[in-house]
Amino acid sequence: MQKIAASDLDNLALGSAILGSGGGGDPAYDLMIARHGMEKYGDVKLLKTSELADDDLIVPMGFMGAPLVGIEKLPSGIEFSRILTSLEKYAGKKASVLMPFEVGGGNAFAPFAVAAQLGLPVLDADMIGRAFPELQMCSCYLKGIPAVPAFLSDSFGNTVIIENGNSFDLERIARKVTVAMGSCSALVMHVMTGAQARNSVVSGSLSHAVNIGEEMSQSCANGVDPLQPLLKLTSGVCLGAGNIVDIDQVISDGFLKGKVTIRNEKETYEVFYRNEYLAVTSGGQYTASTPDILMLIEQQTGVPLTSESLQYGIKVNIIALPAPKIWQTLQGLQLVGPRSFGYDFDYHPVNQETL
């Protein structure tokens, strides 16, 4: 893919929801913001990591804060352009390429409106290849690219620069600043050069998300269940299918934590989540876990279900897509493997043979 047009955005929404692995939130407003920007200013050029110049200034971005605020206090539209002004003053050079920090969920859309407005390209990549709940769970952290200097902006363009710390400090301070900004802020972090980006980002994730969306919506348009085309495209597997019979959840520390039980005539499945789906059992045995991308999609229509939209009675397919390679490394697993989330077993990647 060489560019993203406004007409690709629905496919991006579908693909990013699948890769969101149950988290990432409802992208409806993010989609409208991107669409409005692109209808007004035009298509956005998509760059491959191989096309980056060593000295390009790459800017990963996204929104942070309570989704409730995101759907009430619409962005003014100057948040990211003001951050770029501050960043350019700080760095002494122009930002040349924008990118989303995560492809999973609404933040996949973050760079498009400002990219269209300023005529900047977006890198076909993100820093996670899916969604994970905490800021340090990203490829740039693993590759040792500092998260700071990081920039936060509110809707008036008041910009805060956080420098000299580490990802954990950033997470803690950024959340407090975000609350001060009204519980919603624009965030830029892990700013890097083209040379650094080449080896530290998850390449191709935006076009991958658009392809997933396109494959699924084509199937639906032809009256065919998109499950098999989706699994074929992503080398994923179906772990099971059935009706949602129980949802057991609490909101703790700002996360939606719980377990959903799915049943058919022969088998009972449980899917555990903390915003994102983290582990699946079948008949009490673990069959899949993070960092593989676990997802629940509606049978027949393929509509992806985030953990917030689970409802009794929905007929679902439980799928697992292979994790982005970086998460399958030893270091990756230390950060986002099952043990890091408190499960007492080792990661076993899903593949066609395990089932």
Partner: protein
């Protein structure tokens, strides 16, 4: 003996029923909906008055697609001026974004931003300024706005600023200038609430003229009773309230037909299928109340904020064009012209009604049905059966075990004895929607975001408030109950919070 009248003014037909104290239908009538809606309405009432005296009528409840049609046809809509009470100037998504372009250009006269709005913790985004509002009002009026939509950030939690704007509008433009306040129309979700508010603002014109004409029609017939208008949640409201909140009357039609259908069948839980002239709609009734969907409720392609009845539709109805060579039914339909464009009525279009007439399954006076072979008849009827059953299956797995109640003008086209499952058409099926209107109760809905520390206590408190509000609207103490409860938790908040929507009715 006092009677209630229920009337439904649909796209094709205007139906009416007279109902006694035991909710039994004692009279019914059906006429074609006329171009001037009050004429058909008057004709219908005259027919009903053959069976009941004006003095014996307690009240009249009306459901109408007026509002829906005005939007779909782009007719008789006010030009709307939008004031966004949002001090940070949200330009990222403009008003009417995603609307069909022609509708947006007809409706939107202009947009102004004024200082104000609230953060999620209740503090103002920027100070509210009287002068800003006056300037905005004058500018919008100069741009041709005839009706205002006021949308403030987090106004459902904090209505004060929107109410202040209303006061200033009365001072600046006169108290007759129509003003719609978003917090009175929808809940959290700025764009959907704004959409609903703009629609409400533009619909005020036809409501003002249309509904008051209907009241005039009632009075000329010597009827003195109150006129209630049904709304999309199946309850009824006074004429003045319908004139202030016309957007709430959208989808009253499907709600009335689903409630009417289930009640005609004597069931609290059922799948209801309404076969009309052009389309067939299916819905689910649970505990006497149609299942509703909150998210993704739309009208004319516009996303709205309040919960609407969950309806699935296919383009299959009495007037649907039938092509025997390809064994297709619809999507085109003769609609209200079926009875003169159809082959049985001197026209040249073969319709589903013609097919049913040809086999003698139904009969219409004066009809001369075309000759259709037994094989073709079976083929078409089987396709229709398959299409409708497929539609019923798509409403959900749990619902497959429920009885299926067939209603609407087109319900009589089929013989249900060879359909799978418990499928039937009750007596009076063709006036189910008017019956539903007659049964409409009084309701109140609470739509708030609340802290969820003690979930059960919080819900119980809100349910009490909803019931009190419903009683204040006129609900019957003996039957008032909670009919709808939806909870949407919000994440990443510093404490557990959720949007809670509770409707009480009686």
């Amino acid at each position: 003996m006092k009677y209630r009248i229920g009337i439904d003014i649909g796209g094709t037909h205007t139906d009416g029923v007279v109902v006694d104290n035991n909710n039994k239908i004692v009279a019914k009538a059906k006429t074609l909906t006329t171009q001037r809606v009050d004429e058909g309405f008057k004709l219908l009432l005259k027919q009903l008055l053959d069976e009941v005296k004006p003095d014996d009528i307690n009240d009249i409840s009306l459901g109408t697609t007026h509002a829906t049609n005005a939007i779909l046809e782009r007719k008789d809509l006010y030009r709307v001026g939008v004031i966004r009470v949002a001090g940070h100037g949200p330009q990222s998504i403009p008003p009417c974004f995603g609307w069909p372009a022609d509708l947006a250009s007809i409706v939107l006269a202009g947009t102004e931003f004024v200082s104000g709005g609230y953060e999620c913790d209740g503090s103002p985004i920027t100070p509210f300024k009287h002068a800003d509002v006056v300037y905005a009002l004058e500018k919008l009026a100069a741009q041709g706005a005839e009706s205002l939509a006021i949308v403030g950030v987090f106004s459902p939690q904090n209505p004060q600023q929107e109410l202040e704007v209303k006061t200033i509008a009365a001072e600046t433009l006169g108290s007759d200038f129509p003003v719609s306040l978003s917090h009175q129309i929808g809940g959290i979700g700025y764009i959907e609430r704004e959409n609903s508010t703009i629609l409400n603002a533009c619909l005020k014109s036809i409501m003002k003229n249309g509904f008051y004409k209907l009241r005039g029609a009632i009075e000329t017939l010597g009827i003195q009773c109150p006129l209630w208008i049904t709304q999309n949640n199946g309850s009824r409201m006074p004429l003045q309230q319908a004139a202030d909140y016309p957007v709430l009357t959208i989808s009253a039609g499907p709600t009335n037909s689903f409630i009417g259908g289930s009640k005609l069948a004597g069931l609290d839980n059922a799948v209801v299928v309404d076969i009309g002239g052009t389309s067939t709609d299916v819905g689910v009734v649970r505990s006497g109340y149609p299942r509703r969907r909150l998210n993704k409720s739309k009208i004319g392609g516009i996303s709205l904020n309040f919960s609407m009845p969950d309806v699935l539709s296919i383009a299959l109805g009495g007037g649907s064009h039938v092509d025997l060579s390809r064994n297709t039914i619809g999507p085109l339909s003769c609609g209200k012209d079926t009875f003169h464009l159809g082959k049985s009525f001197g026209g040249s279009q073969l319709t589903l009604t013609d097919i049913a007439l040809s086999a003698g399954h139904i009969s219409v006076p004066g009809a001369k049905p075309p000759q259709i072979s037994e094989r073709d008849y079976r083929s078409v009827m089987n396709k229709a059966k398959v299409d409708v059953q497929q539609l019923v299956r798509s409403i959900g797995i749990e619902e497959q075990r429920l009885p299926v109640v067939m209603i609407g003008g087109g319900a009589s086209l089929f013989d249900y004895r060879d359909w799978e499952g418990n499928v039937f058409s009750p007596q009076h099926a063709n006036v189910a929607n008017a019956f539903g209107a007659a049964l409409a109760e009084f309701s109140a809905t609470i739509d708030l975001v609340v802290p969820f520390m003690d979930r059960d206590k919080e819900i119980a408190k809100l349910e009490e408030i909803a019931i009190e509000k419903a009683l204040a609207q006129g609900a019957d103490k003996r039957s008032v109950r909670i009919v709808d409860r939806q909870i949407i938790p919000y994440h990443y908040a510093t404490q557990p919070i959720a949007r809670v929507m509770i409707t009480a009715s009686g």
